[in-house]
Amino acid sequence: MQVRGVMKGSETDTFNTSACCCHRAGTRLWPLLLVGFLLLSSGVSATVLPEDRTDLMYHSYDGGGVTVTGPALLVRKSVGDSVSLSGRYYVDTISSASIDVITTASPYTDKREEFQVGIDYLHGNTLMGISLSSSKESDYLADTFNLNVSQDLFEGLTTVTMGYSQGYDSIQPINSTDQHDINRYKYRLGLSQVLTPTVLLGVSYEGIAEEGYLNNPYRYARVLGAFVPEVYPGTHDSQALAVRIMKGFSSDTRSVGESVRADYRYYRDNWGISSNTLLLAYQRYFANRWLGEVHYRFYQQSAASFYSDNFATEMTYMARDKELSAFQSNSLGVKATWRLPSGNYFFIDRMSLNFAYDYIAFDYDNFTDIRTGQLYSFGANVLQLFISAWY
């Protein structure tokens, strides 16, 4: 079983912010700007509650000897003009004979269930939301609290978001009486900006800190070819900064027929890993009731400082988790949405049927398939079928 660590201690390292014309004014200026923003935000309200909507999905992942399937459900309904309630149920039914499993253990099956409930409250141009989620599988429990606040400014041209999450994981390895814990903390800051009538810009930052038992109790490192238990550091700090932009194309000023999107994310952590993620997408309406999308995603990362395919000597920290090795992945995906004709569906205003498929190719630079002695690579098929309803 893959057990990924989730969060840690305190944030000590931040991205450099770009120089600004006002930077030299230092802390004397920002209270004045804050007052100005509050005044501006009291103008025309553009903030709305999330849509009343339900999605019911079947999902499937098949790749590298691992099959994960299951249903997922998301329900959201407003209560009055200022409150929206949401609930999410998600299931992973796992059958794993991954390369880690078949070279050091036996294939297994497992099931993960996740519940999440949330409430959003709208007050003026401010939307506040809290949610609680709980995830359970045979050897892993995780509980998370999320808090998000978003504020519209400049008559809705700018939206600033802030978020905080705190989580607690409990791990009890199979055939062991040991219990391990992980504490995690997430800090989010985001900005959405209308640049022109057809261009949107988004910038987001997230710092994640985690502490506790971060390694996988079932995975082994290699020292001169011999398998030894992995040992990870007890803390893990990471930061990610993403920029995304969307451009719409239309033949008039009131409707849009197609759009292109580009996302870039830079990531780094105190385990020595840095990564780059690029997403390009094209969407368009066609044949009256269809919305189609084609997207390409590139991902590349460097290896953790304590990763080795085969250590020459025993070290304090040792990992041979392929997710901590140097690798890249290329994904190509399509998505099609069919909007049902308007009609009487009881209390439902409109519905859509959706199909999405992604193929992901993983190529590892320093993780060897010890059965063949060759560098490991594999492809994965990711399928989603879901129905959406608005009411």
């Binding site: 893959q2 990924r4 989730v6 770009s18 600004c20 014309c21 006002c22 930077h23 999605d55 999905m57 997922a72 459900l73 992973d92 996740e114 999440q116 949610s131 989620s133 995830s135 998370t144 998000n148 400014l153 400049f154 809705g156 700018t158 978020g163 997430k186 989010r188 900005l191 959405s192 900006q193 209308v194 640049l195 009538p197 949107l200 988004g202 997230e206 994640i208 990471s238 990610a240 900064l241 993403a242 995304r244 969307m246 719409g248 009131r254 409707s255 849009v256 759009s259 990531y267 919305l291 991902y299 990362q301 997710e323 901590l324 992945s329 998505k335 999405a356 992604d358 989603q384 879901f386």
Partner: protein, 66 residues
């Protein structure tokens, strides 16, 4: 903080998009999170197989295991 607020002020000042000019921006095809459940799922698929995490269009939560 002051740098961020200054940047926001400059960007908003440059934008100058009137309310009646935002019909295109309200179309689902212009949303970064058109299908929230689908986005959450796909982010989860990548999250458990890559070291990078965070700064996606969906909130995290639950466990990172799979």
């Amino acid at each position: 903080m002051s740098a961020l607020l200054c940047t926001l002020a400059l960007m908003a000042g440059c934008a100058g998009v009137k309310s009646y000019e935002r019909e295109i921006l309200a179309d689902p095809i212009m949303s970064f999170t058109r299908d929230p459940l689908s986005d959450t799922y796909l982010n989860h698929v990548y999250d458990v197989r890559e070291a990078a995490r965070g700064a996606t269009t969906t909130d995290g939560g639950g466990c990172g295991c799979n």
